[in-house]
């Protein structure tokens, strides 16, 4: 059994979904493993991970619209406002989505479904460099 780790850095330029599927698969599918487990972990609390449809980009627009409605900037509910009106909504949006993802490796490839893409979901409006740790165990 072998392990591999790698880091992805994404220069996010504001609130939206960033497709990281190519970076993930280019690394994970060339490790020479037949069977294994791929884990993605994002080291932030204002950005998260999401697997969703990668075919029609309108899905990404609508996803963003939904989270803006459910956790609007400048919400009077929040007292943690020191970093700006999008700070606490960013933490809420992170809580509602994923900090870690686990994807089996089957027949040498991460077993994504046909329409699945892996996204970094940036929740702040400012630019930020986001780090995602990848870990694989298998053989």
């Amino acid at each position: 059994m072998r392990q591999f780790t790698q880091q992805i850095s994404v220069k996010a330029q504001g609130r939206r979904l960033y497709d990281i599927t190519p970076q993930v698969l280019n690394w994970a599918n060339q490790l020479g493993l037949n069977t294994g487990l791929l884990t993605l972990y994002i080291q932030h609390t204002s950005a998260s991970l999401l697997i969703n449809e990668n075919y029609d980009s309108d899905v990404l627009v609508d996803m963003e619209a939904f989270f803006n409605r459910i956790a609007p900037d400048g919400d009077a509910l929040f007292i943690h406002t020191v970093e700006g009106p999008d700070d606490m909504p960013a933490h809420v949006r992170t809580a509602l989505t994923q900090t870690s993802l686990s994807i089996p490796i089957i027949d040498g490839k991460a077993a994504l479904g046909q329409w699945q893409g892996i996204f970094l979901f940036e929740h702040r409006h400012m630019s930020a460099t986001r780090r995602i740790i990848m870990h694989v165990i298998g053989e």
Copy 2:
């Protein structure tokens, strides 16, 4: 250390929660492992995974009611409507729940709590065959 993989197919017949606990445990608990890690992964973007109470079926009705309220069909917010009024709500519901689940195997069994069941959460009204990949590593 050994690995095992298996696929579950569920013929979902419309939007609701489908209990897949028996299929998961029947497979994972008979692998002859004492300690390990079980991962479930669903290869879809309009159906998801959920661990929740499996005792009172009213919980499943209420869970469905909650997600219908938070992401109603035909929501005027959405522009991705080509596949029908339940398509984008299905992607949102998937984003709010789980695409992957990790469950330790302890003393030869997946360590579910007493009241926990594992569910496929189908978010479309149409019938669909859904695939869940299971991966186990342990010894």
Copy 3:
């Protein structure tokens, strides 16, 4: 490759976030592993796991406020009310957050980001002892 398991018990005294970062790291970072995968699993359906900001405690107050608004106690939507007005909201809040978390171990330490803490999110008002299973595989 080696495996380790451990259980954390938290005596939760009502609805709020409980920081379990010290218990998790004290155990995981002393196993003598260089590289591995840490999995946390909570065996309940009215309490969940969350990674979020651990610096400003106002974030925890606001997080709680958000979930109270989105899934209020005594919601007339719900029929599963036998265990009290906070029971079904607790299941919904569990569904919207995490039952399992996966964190890579890199250079001998669980790879949490600088501002990330690991929390038990108790969703019931009553006191309860909550069990979290930890599993590590690595070498």
